[in-house]
Amino acid sequence: MEQLEVLERKTETKLYCFHCGDECQDEIIHIDEKIFCCNGCKTVYEILNNSNLCNYYSIDESPGITRKHYIQRNYDFLNDNDLKLKLIDFSNGQRTQLTLDIPQMHCSSCIWILENLYKLNHGIISSKVNFLQKKIFISYQEEKTSLKDIVELLDSIGYEPQLNLDDRKEEKNKNEYRSLYYKIGIAGFCFGNIMLLSFPEYLSIDVAGHEELKRIFAYLNIILSLPVFFYSANIYFISAWKGLKKKFINIDVPLALGIAVLFIRSIVEIVFMNDAGYLDSLSGLVFFLLIGKLFQNKTYETLNFERNYKSYFPIAVTIQKNKIETTIPVEKLQIGDRLIIRNNELIPADSILIKGNANIDYGFVTGESIPINKVNGEVVYAGGKQIGSAIEVETIKDVSQSYLTQLWNNKAFRKDQEHEQESRIISFANTVSKYFTIIILALAVIAALIWHNNSTLAFNAFTAVLIVACPCALALSTPFALGNTLRIFGKNKFYLKNTFIIEKLAAVNSIVFDKTGTITENNSSSVEFIGEKLSDDEKTFIKSAVRNSTHPLSTAIFDSIDSKVIKIINVYDELPGKGIYAVINDNEIKLGSKFFINENQEEDVNDFSTKVFLSINRKVKGYFNITNKYRDGLRETVSELERNYELAILSGDNEGEKEKLRNFFGTDNELHFRQSPQDKLDFILQLQENGRKVLMIGDGLNDAGALKQSDVGISVSDNTNNFSPACDGIMDSESFYRLKDFIKFSNSSMKIIFSSFVLSLIYNLIGLGFAFTGMLSPLIAAILMPLSSVTAVVFTTVTTNVLAKRRGLI
């Protein structure tokens, strides 16, 4: 009797997994009246059920992480003491504290289960989650459990921690963040109280007969302004000093000058002239500036823009010494070590294949995910991932000197710190303030010279010019406009590292794209059968045969055949690098390379397209032509960008898709194929030497050098929680078609800042009129300064929102 297995995939009876909520497709597992899509999901449910933790499923519906593609990992290396010390935060021998990154957490249920870990492992004392940072803080008892047990536990319930050794700078960030909060709190407190004490002055209340009250208020104001001046405002003095030491005038120089002059003049007025001073304006200014800084400092805590190859590579490897397998941290790896690379493990250093069937996926290096078959004695390069059974290799190079990783020795990666500093110099606000400071200093001196007969008036005019000309509107409009733009981009799944990138993005005039994974979709390809027309039965045979193979080409063919019936296979064999052989109902099916199907035919060396040939019962039927699928909206994006930008394509791939790409990119734009990671970096460098400002858009490790070297490097990712190489921004692939809007909008933001600057100049001119005549009263200052600050803030936020709405970004 013919065995048939019919897939239940009718649209009206779709079944969804109780654990992960995915549609159950291939198999359905019933347990406790619940349905699971795979064994993995069921196992997690059983673990939780045994510990009475099924509350997990009642907080959010189907909160689990699908286990369909789960690969069992070996965590033995966590027993290594050196490695353990690097991963834990603190230990006193009995109690250990540990912080782990868990990118999979996504809902309230995740928080609940992760904070109830102590029920699953009694050695865990407590666990606490920071959801926005996707981190878990665990403290556990050394004698009852171990690091390895905890990591295995997390992995077993679907929350595989990301083990990373170079994540140490976050502590510093946290302190910076907190100190900004302290400063704002203190400035706000003092600002409020100083304003309260200045009310008699604002309302011109007659305090005749109570002169001492006025004095008391004024001196209280001085006391309250001390922490504002010496603590809250000190970042501006420090930054201005640092700038001056490096001989450039940044925006903080005129700010610091304004703040200092305000303070000194107020003290002088209160102490010697029995006047009220401008301490309210001073504290208000500092308060607003700090709020602007907070607004600008929006960071995407879960995203990491600084990853290097170490984040992709395993932190430990299995080596074989004297026939004993041990795990060692990857940095202890030496040339000549014999490594065991298991299924789905990365090769950490260039090596020679010694034993086993190597089927290497160089997706990280070339962007091309179709595995390449290697034979013993051949060199396998670092960054390749073994697909299939375990292999043995012998390292021939250090980890850091390997083909891929030596990219990180390039100077593009070393100038990191300076680069960041430089970006500050070229920002619009800093360029303007350079001239601005010189002009206002000159004006102040002129004002003082005009009144040189009257020393009091000269002092007043000199200081008033510096106070009024303080570019607070400019200093405020930049963080608010750019901070808001950053948020608008974030809403559209385009995440930038910081606000300076927006200015750089607006200045770009060349755009370079990577091909695979960037302008093509990662996990889908278009499959076309060319040859004899296939009958429905034949289609079923093919689908049943490729179902057993995990090769990406097989998956692509499987997805392309629309057949709901799967037949049982009698004989099945997969020959790595060649193809698959299957016998179904006495029909012999062969799928694979041309040579594999027909041994008399030679491979066509000049044919670069991806073809899978098919023969049924030794009769060649034709071939599947598998091509990349380009992202939606690519054509519109390219034709729009082409008008204003120079475009180029760098592909790690062969020329197979050249004609198709020409279709999109026309004849004017450069297309380069077979580009190594180093070639890509050099190409960007060459463009920059010709005076271009380059935007690089890439995805994998192979683009890492180009992303780093370019003025703006943006990495495209299907899942922003995944690893992406060091870059300035991460774009969700769904938002790729909006690229042109993003670039245009960053241009608009710069125009808004410019307009706001013009607006604030008008205020400054009015204020200067008062200042020159020596008539700047505290009341006018108290009105004019906050008014210009508030206008700048309101103008920039409102206009960025209006423009974003017009472009459909919010």
């Binding site: 309230s108 928080i111 940072q133 709190g185 008391i216």
Partner: protein
């Protein structure tokens, strides 16, 4: 008029109290994570959920 001086000193003291409370909150990490506690507060207490399980077990037994 000296009553105003006393009042101002008192109000400053109260306000300082709030400032210290704010600084304390920042120092103890209350501003480090502004999302998770809002979810955590909504979880049922442990004992309640265990009781509920027990009750349902009892119910099942009574069915037999």
């Amino acid at each position: 008029m000296s009553v105003i001086v006393v009042l101002i000193c008192a109000s400053l003291l109260v306000a300082t109290g709030f400032l210290i409370a704010y600084l304390w909150a920042v120092k103890h990490g209350q501003y480090d994570d502004k999302y998770t506690p809002s979810v955590r507060i909504l979880f049922d207490d442990e004992k309640k959920s265990e009781d509920r399980n027990k009750k349902s077990v009892v119910k099942n037994n009574s069915d037999f």
